[in-house]
Structures are given as structure tokens and as C-alpha cells.
């Protein structure tokens, strides 16, 4: 296509090309160095199957919890004026920029065996989060919730609030309006936020390993398995990484085709 405003300047085209290469080359290199012969063996080993199962399970449970709790929070932030709303939003955003390893340390302080909540919980019920699959879910919820809340809040905000007003004049309670108007109107954004949150959770490493260690069959997820495998068997790590790459691309495609409507 000829550009009516003139040729794009090299000063912009060259950095743009470098940026693209920088993002694409490592992924291509990873695919290129995969040992395809050994791949089936790597992926069907017991540890790999366990890790994939735990990853899928914990990410899915975590995102369900994020939706259950995050959807109401996103709605409150988008639709209700309350004191301290800005502060709540800022606090919700913190885990978004927090290094995951710090998130793990923070979770330890709260839910560890000697933590603020963890210690009384252990005394009362004999249950403790760290080093369990529940702990993995908790870590995933902690890191994914901000993604879910912030992106769904954005979706609620871009849905015209006058539809809520129209519903109210027709006699709808706020709960009815939420259920029948606000959420359906924001649904593409809600789904996008959910998928993004799930992907974030699926790839979560730092908080999970800090809070839960890396025990095959209980707390070992795909990313933490890749991390330890990398130290002993580089080819196996590559094979496992390839699986994660495919899942990520799958998420992107799902988002594009169904909800984002980009050409």
C-alpha cells in the first residue's frame, strides 16, 4: 500500500525492526534447537505429566477464584463512589508491578506456618498453605487477581454507565442490572481479562517457588519444572518450554479471534 503521507522514516523503521527481531529471534531459536526425536519422551515422563496437570489445575482453580472475587471488586471500583476508592485501586495494582519473588515472601509472612494468618490457621485446623497444591493456587490468585481486576474494571468503565441508569428507571435493582446489563455488555473485556489472568497464572514462577518450593506431584508446575530441568537436561527443558509457548500462542489466538476483533 502506498502511504499518502510519504515514506515512513528510517529513523523509525529501523528501531521498529530491531524490536521485532529482539522479540521473535529467541522464540524461533528455541523452536529450532528443540530435539524433536526426544520430544515425545520428554513430554510423557511422569514429572512432566504431573507438572502439566498441576499447572492446568491450579491455574484454572485460581482464575475461577479470581473471577468470583475480582468481578465484584472490579465492579465496585468502576461503578461505586466510595471513600478510599483510589487507594484500593492503587493497592490492587501493587502486585502487578511487584517482583514475583517478593510476592512469595509476602505470602509467607501472611500464610506461612508462622505467618500472621498462617499461624492461627495452623493451630485451629492443622492446615498450612505452604508446600501444598492449595498454596500454589493461593500464589496464583495473588499474582493473577490484579490482571483480572484491572482489565475487567476497564471493561466496565468503557461500557456506557447510562445503560445502568436505563435499567434503574425500568425498576431493576443494582444486582439485576449487574447480572443482566453491566456484565453482558462488558463480556468481551471480562473474557479477555480472564484469559489474560489465566495465562499469567499458568506462567507464574517466582511467587510459587518461593512460597511452595518445588515438589513433584504437589507443588511442581511447568515453569518450576523447566527451571530445575534446565540445570540437568537442557533438551528436556526446551521440549517443556515448547509446550508453554504453544499454550501462550493458543491464548493469543483465542483472544484475537473471539473477542478482540482485530483483523
Amino acid at each position: 500500500m502506498r502511504d499518502r503521507l510519504g515514506r515512513p522514516p528510517a529513523l523509525l523503521v529501523v528501531p521498529a525492526a530491531v524490536a521485532t527481531l529482539l522479540l521473535v529471534v529467541p522464540l524461533v531459536a528455541m523452536v529450532a534447537s528443540t530435539d524433536w526425536q526426544a520430544l515425545p519422551g520428554h513430554l510423557t515422563s511422569q514429572t512432566a505429566v504431573d507438572a502439566l496437570r498441576i499447572s492446568l489445575l491450579t491455574s484454572t482453580v485460581a482464575i475461577a477464584i479470581c473471577l468470583l472475587l475480582g468481578l465484584p471488586l472490579a465492579w465496585l471500583l468502576a461503578r461505586v463512589h466510595f471513600r478510599g476508592r483510589g487507594a484500593v485501586r492503587a493497592l490492587v495494582t501493587v502486585p502487578l508491578v511487584l517482583p514475583p519473588v517478593v510476592a512469595g515472601v509476602a505470602l509467607r509472612s501472611a500464610f506461612g506456618r508462622t505467618g500472621v494468618i498462617g499461624e492461627p490457621l495452623l493451630e485451629l485446623t492443622g492446615f498450612a498453605f505452604p508446600f501444598t497444591t492449595y498454596g500454589v493456587v493461593l500464589a496464583h490468585v495473588f499474582v493473577s487477581m490484579p490482571f483480572v481486576v484491572i482489565s475487567i474494571e476497564g471493561a466496565f468503565r468503557s461500557a456506557d454507565p447510562r445503560f445502568d441508569e436505563a435499567a434503574a428507571t425500568l425498576g431493576a435493582t443494582r444486582w439485576t442490572t449487574f447480572r443482566r446489563v453491566t456484565v453482558p455488555l462488558a463480556l468481551p473485556g471480562v473474557v479477555a481479562g480472564t484469559v489474560l489472568g489465566w495465562a499469567r497464572s499458568f506462567g507464574e514462577f517466582g511467587a510459587t517457588i518461593t512460597f511452595n518450593g518445588n515438589y513433584p506431584g504437589t507443588t511442581q508446575t511447568m515453569p518450576t519444572l523447566i527451571y530445575v530441568t534446565r540445570q540437568s537436561d537442557q533438551d528436556a527443558a526446551l521440549s517443556l518450554s515448547l509446550v508453554m509457548l504453544l499454550v501462550s500462542i493458543g491464548v493469543l489466538v483465542a483472544l484475537r479471534d473471539r473477542w478482540l476483533g482485530t483483523p
Partner: protein, 317 residues
């Protein structure tokens, strides 16, 4: 009986009887929409709006039993026409089947039953507006609020819908407030007209009276009258009562003005001038006369009117 104030927007006291259609007219920014939204409860408001024993303004929006037809309709885009009309009934606890039966009945009354399954984006402007009015009426509100119901529609669609709405308004047992900027809506649909200007009520009366003796230049322009203030009195006269000449008219008439022609355009069989006198005045003359006088925008002209063609009335009642 309502007496309400929306800060910085509108301050209005007025009464309306059940079964009555009250048109609210005024220029942009006069506070027409604010008035409707205040009754509906969508803006902060002081005062009261008594309806029977209740004060509407003390009730939450959903308990007010008002039907608001929004500017731009605001049909729920994810719901079919039928579900849009049934929404209010279902929100008030009607079972699905009953609500849909009533909604279908309303669509039928508006002659659009065959569009029940369509989403709002698949409806034309006129069809969508019918659905919006049906949605407001389906809950059988005590007060129906219509915010510029014909804006943005083709002229032919406006005409058809105006006639239809007139029929529904005659059958409507509650109070109807109709915000409009079109004189024909007020003249054909309303029992009374409330004129707002700059957030204040400047005139209330029967449509014919308001049209004959307008108190604001806005209404005068809507009904095609010239309006000139003269002390405590207003003078209204039609553009065809104005005589145009190139030189100062002879005689002692006080009713003469002077200024450049702003625009000049065909108007029915005549040519209509807008002259920047003080105030702006309209004058109609025959095309032959306009040619003979060599009238063109920018040309200075004198306007005069016979006292017998001018209606005089008090500026404030």
C-alpha cells in the same frame, strides 16, 4: 406538582395532571434534559415532586415508576427488541412468560411485532425509537419522560412516529413530559407547553397561546414570528407583515428597523430575509420584489411593520 432545582442547570416549578402531556421546550442548555433527569432521579436535585401522596424525589430511581425514553434510545444492545421491552417487567418480578407476552403486545401496538427477535443494531432509527418507547410504556409508569424522541430520525420517519406517539399519548393515563426543540411536537402532541430559558420557566400555557404570544425569541423563532421588546410589552408579528425598503420609510411609524441582510433564502412561495437589525428580524417578500430591490447578503435595508399587523402583550404575566 413539582418544584425542583438542579444546581447550575434548572430551577422549575410546575404542575401537571394525570393524562396530560406537557411539552418542555427551550434552546440548547436551557435545562430541558436536566429537568427530565431530575424527575427520573438521575441527577442530584433539591425540592419536591409530589405525585399523589408521595414525593418522587425522595424515592430511589427504581421505585419512582417513571418511564424514561432516552435521547439516543439506550436500548440494551445485547438483548433482542422483545427482551428490551420485557426488561422492566422482569426486573419488577414478572415471570418470564408473562413479561414476554406483555412485551409482545406492546411491539404489536407499535406495529413491529415481526422485529421481536432483532437486536437493536439490526433496527432502523425509527424502529429502535418505537422499541424504546414501548420499553418505557410496558412498565405502566406513572410518569412518562420523553427526551427529544424524534432527534436524529429522517423527516418522513419523524412524521409517522409523531402521529403514532400522539395516539399512544392519548391512551396514556399518567403524566407525560415531552422534551423537544421542535415547535411541531409541542403544537401537535402537547396539552400544555412549558418554556425554559437559561434554567428558568419563562412561560407555561396552551400550545396555541404560547405560539401566538411567545415570550422568548427562541419560541418566536420556532413558530416563525418576529419578537420585539417594547418597554414592558412584547410585540409579535409575522415575517410577511414586514415591509422591506432600501430607504428610510416615510411617515411617523415607530415600528421600523435598520440593518444588513444576513441571509436570504426561498421560503415557500416567498423569499425570506434574516436581517441583523436590533433585534434580528425575519421578513418575507415576493421573489419579484426581492429581484427588483436587488437584495443580497450584506446589503443595508429598512424594515417596517404596520401597527395593525402587530400583536402586543405584556412581557411578564
Amino acid at each position: 406538582m413539582a418544584d425542583l432545582r438542579v444546581a447550575d442547570r434548572v430551577e422549575a416549578a410546575f404542575t401537571a395532571e394525570p393524562g396530560e402531556v406537557l411539552a418542555v421546550i427551550g434552546p440548547n442548555g436551557a435545562g430541558k434534559s436536566s429537568l427530565l433527569h431530575a424527575v427520573a432521579g438521575l441527577v442530584d436535585v433539591d425540592g419536591s415532586a409530589r405525585l399523589g401522596d408521595a414525593d418522587l424525589l425522595t424515592l430511589p430511581v427504581r421505585e419512582r415508576r417513571v418511564g424514561l425514553v432516552f435521547q439516543g434510545q439506550l436500548l440494551f444492545p445485547h438483548l433482542s427488541a422483545l427482551d428490551n421491552v420485557a426488561f422492566g417487567l422482569r426486573a419488577r418480578g414478572e415471570p418470564r412468560a408473562a413479561a414476554e407476552a406483555v412485551a409482545r403486545d406492546w411491539l404489536e401496538r407499535f406495529g413491529i411485532a415481526e422485529l421481536a427477535a432483532r437486536k437493536p443494531r439490526e433496527l432502523s432509527g425509527g424502529q429502535a425509537q418505537r422499541v424504546a418507547i414501548a420499553r418505557a410504556l410496558a412498565t405502566e409508569p406513572d410518569v412518562l419522560l420523553l427526551d427529544e424522541p424524534f432527534t436524529g430520525l429522517d423527516v418522513s420517519v419523524q412524521m409517522a412516529l409523531r402521529i403514532e406517539l400522539g395516539r399512544h399519548l392519548r391512551d396514556f393515563p399518567g403524566i407525560a413530559l415531552l422534551v423537544t426543540h421542535d415547535a411541531i411536537d409541542a403544537l401537535t402532541l402537547a396539552d400544555r407547553v412549558l418554556v425554559l430559558d437559561d434554567g428558568q420557566v419563562v412561560q407555561v400555557g396552551r400550545p396555541a397561546d404560547v405560539a401566538a404570544e411567545p415570550r422568548t425569541s427562541h419560541v418566536a423563532r420556532l413558530v416563525g414570528l418576529n419578537l420585539v421588546a417594547d418597554g414592558d410589552e412584547l410585540m409579535a408579528f409575522t415575517p410577511d407583515a414586514v415591509v422591506v425598503s432600501l430607504h428610510e420609510p416615510e411617515g411617523s411609524t415607530r415600528l421600523r428597523w435598520h440593518g444588513p441582510i444576513a441571509t436570504l433564502a426561498p421560503h415557500g412561495d416567498a423569499v425570506r430575509l434574516l436581517v441583523h437589525a436590533s433585534p434580528d428580524l425575519l421578513a418575507d417578500l415576493t421573489p419579484a420584489a426581492a429581484t427588483e430591490l436587488e437584495l443580497a447578503p450584506g446589503r443595508e435595508v429598512w424594515l417596517s411593520a404596520k401597527a395593525t399587523a402587530v400583536s402586543r402583550y405584556a412581557a411578564r404575566r
